[in-house]
């Protein structure tokens, strides 16, 4: 297992999404990153939300830098902050791998708590994004608000790992057009995002 790419562990999960607490504060993958967790089956998720907050929901952080010149000095002067604050990542489940085959369909069971969460390699991203059957799962996901931003980030990242990135984006664009027939304005905005 690629320890370098391990970002954290599952701390909350359902059959639609899971929450990862990152090992290190502020060391999270970007929105639209493909991650994997679990082993049998291995589940795939896409990061849709990243949050930094107090570990204890009852203890809200207070300002500490009135007498500091730089932001970094706040953390140097208060080393406990790295323990009291956490970075959490929310991922939507988009598929699983059974044996050698990737299935882009809803998972039947959520990942276990404390499952290791690993950022997928370029090769894994290329393999996963060769098929975009999971797009309807994202487009119609009831849990996400800014899903179009997530999709465009994912597609842009994926395009970079394909040999012909512009051809991949056209393929992805056509898949979006197919799934968003009747939502021309949304499609137009999405396409504008991924064409940048």
């Amino acid at each position: 297992m690629n320890i370098n790419k391990r970002i954290g562990e599952v701390v909350e999960s359902s059959s639609l999404q899971f929450t990862v607490q990152c090992y290190d504060l502020y060391k999270s993958p970007n929105i639209g990153t493909l991650v994997k967790c679990g082993s049998d089956p291995q589940l795939f998720g896409i990061v849709y939300d990243v949050s930094n907050k107090s570990m204890d929901p009852a203890r809200r952080p207070v300002p500490r830098g009135r007498n500091e010149n730089k932001e970094e000095e706040v953390y140097l002067s208060n080393p406990q902050l790295n323990r009291l604050l956490i970075t959490e990542v929310n991922c939507v489940l988009v598929g699983y791998q059974s044996v050698d085959e990737i299935n882009q369909s809803p998972v039947s069971l959520p990942p276990m708590i404390h499952s290791f969460v690993i950022e997928c390699s370029d090769e894994e991203l290329k393999r996963f994004s060769s098929c975009l059957d999971f797009l309807p799962l994202l487009l119609e996901s009831p849990v996400l608000n800014s899903i179009d931003e997530v999709i465009s980030s994912f597609l842009i990242k994926s395009s970079r790992v394909h040999d012909d990135s512009s051809r991949f984006l056209i393929y992805a664009g056509k898949e979006l057009a197919f799934n968003l027939s009747g939502q021309l304005i949304r499609l137009n905005n999405l396409l504008k995002r991924i064409s940048k």
């Binding site: 975009l132 021309l184 504008k192």
Partner: protein
Amino acid sequence: MNYEINNQPYEDTNILGMVVSGSLNNGVEVKLKPEKSVSEIKVGRYVSIEAESLKFFGVVTDIELGATDQTLRVNPPEISNPFIAKVISGSTAYGVIQVEPMLILSQDELDLIDGPQPAKTIPPHFSKVSFASDKDVETVFGLESNTNFWLGNPLDMDTAKLCLNIEEFIKRSNGVFGKSGTGKTFLTRLLLLGIIQRGVASQLVFDMQSEYGWKGFSEESKEVKGLKQMFSSKVAIFSLDEESSKRRGVNPDYVVRIGYEDIEPGDIAVLKETLNLSEVAADAAYSLERFYGSNKWFKEFLSLSGGDEFIELARSLNINQAALSSLKNRLSRFKRFDFIDQSGGNDSVTQILSYLDRGMHVVLEFGRYGSDLAAYMLVANLLTRRIYARYAILAEKALGDPTQQPTPLVITIEEAHKFLSPDIASQTIFGTIAREMRKHNVTLLVVDQRPSGIDDEIMSQLGTKITCLLDNEKDLDSVLTGVSGNRKLRSVLSRLESKQQALIFGHAVPMPMVIKVRDYGTATSYGDFQIEDTKFNFDEDNEDLFGKKL
């Protein structure tokens, strides 16, 4: 769909799309593949549809732009962004073609023997639609052979030859239509050449503008060979105007002379409109024939001096004097025609028949009389009536002895609407021939630019119609009367190019087809005809054009 699979090149780039809806009455709707642009496809293009064990052949009759989102029209995407334009075209915005399935070919080996049959069903959903291949054209229209004449190429298929079965073609009367300058004459010349080359019929061509016999001219005033130059031993040129023929360097085989006694009242009835005769005046000719006798009426009538003699004649025939007078005035025009001989004709009919009997083809050039419609109509009607009468006798003889069957005769007339208008179609011999078809082995090839002027009944009896561009509504209606799917063909017909394109449909072809008429007039085109006539020398032509080979 998988990106890798989706991006593999299609095995067959000819595939256009798939059938998504349709009906037998309205044809099928085909959604184009994303990478196929509507501008690649033209109305009239020949397509094939693979459907399980069946193969359909059809014609593109309409092209549409479709969209999955109806707001696309009011809120178009940002096509200034090339990426968005590429994505939207073929997905949200796509092309649709309407295809009229015409023929069906079963892949069953036994059914293959019968060849394609008229389509009585439609292909199922999602059948693959492709541009027809050269082999498809061969399957449907056959290869060039002793009976099949290569007339042109299907639209946008430069390597496929569309062949016309000449044997079937001459079994019915046929029509060549099109606006002036659309290539009717070239097309007709090709058909005449095909009939001569295949040797299935004799022909009599009433060559109004003297452009079929010895030589003709293209729109660019380039000289093209006439039939006599191509088949000197098979074609005879008859002339009504020897001087004109000689001026053009043509030595006619025979000069036609028509005697006063040859003219019958029926010949005058045909000219009613052309001579601006009233009904009464035209009918007076029949009374005159009864009065003077069938061979003398014309001569006697024109020799009347007028005055009392004329009044007396009108009274005895019980005809209005003014009508009789107008008839005489109009008929006096004929005195100016040098080919009409008061002292008697030279039995041109027998001469023509003797050539036709020998399997030769007669082109009657009108010379300067070609511009006189009355002369053209008089001569064409007069000669044809007599020739048809002889053929009727021969055909009757053949009923008793089938070996005596006369060689089929094809008579070509131009300005056909003048002979076949609803008013006079029942009176002219051409109307009779068109209606009775091949009963007596005589059929017509009518060439006309105003088919709406031709009697509906006769139009419906024409076997094969070859139509160049027509844009008049009435003409389009007239040509397509009685043709299945005529609404669709109408759009095809009205969008033909103004040159060298024609729509062929009817008896001699299995399905309607838009063709690019084959070239005629270049050294290569003459060579392509592979004519084996002794006087025709392709090498000589090449030398004339390009100089001797070193």
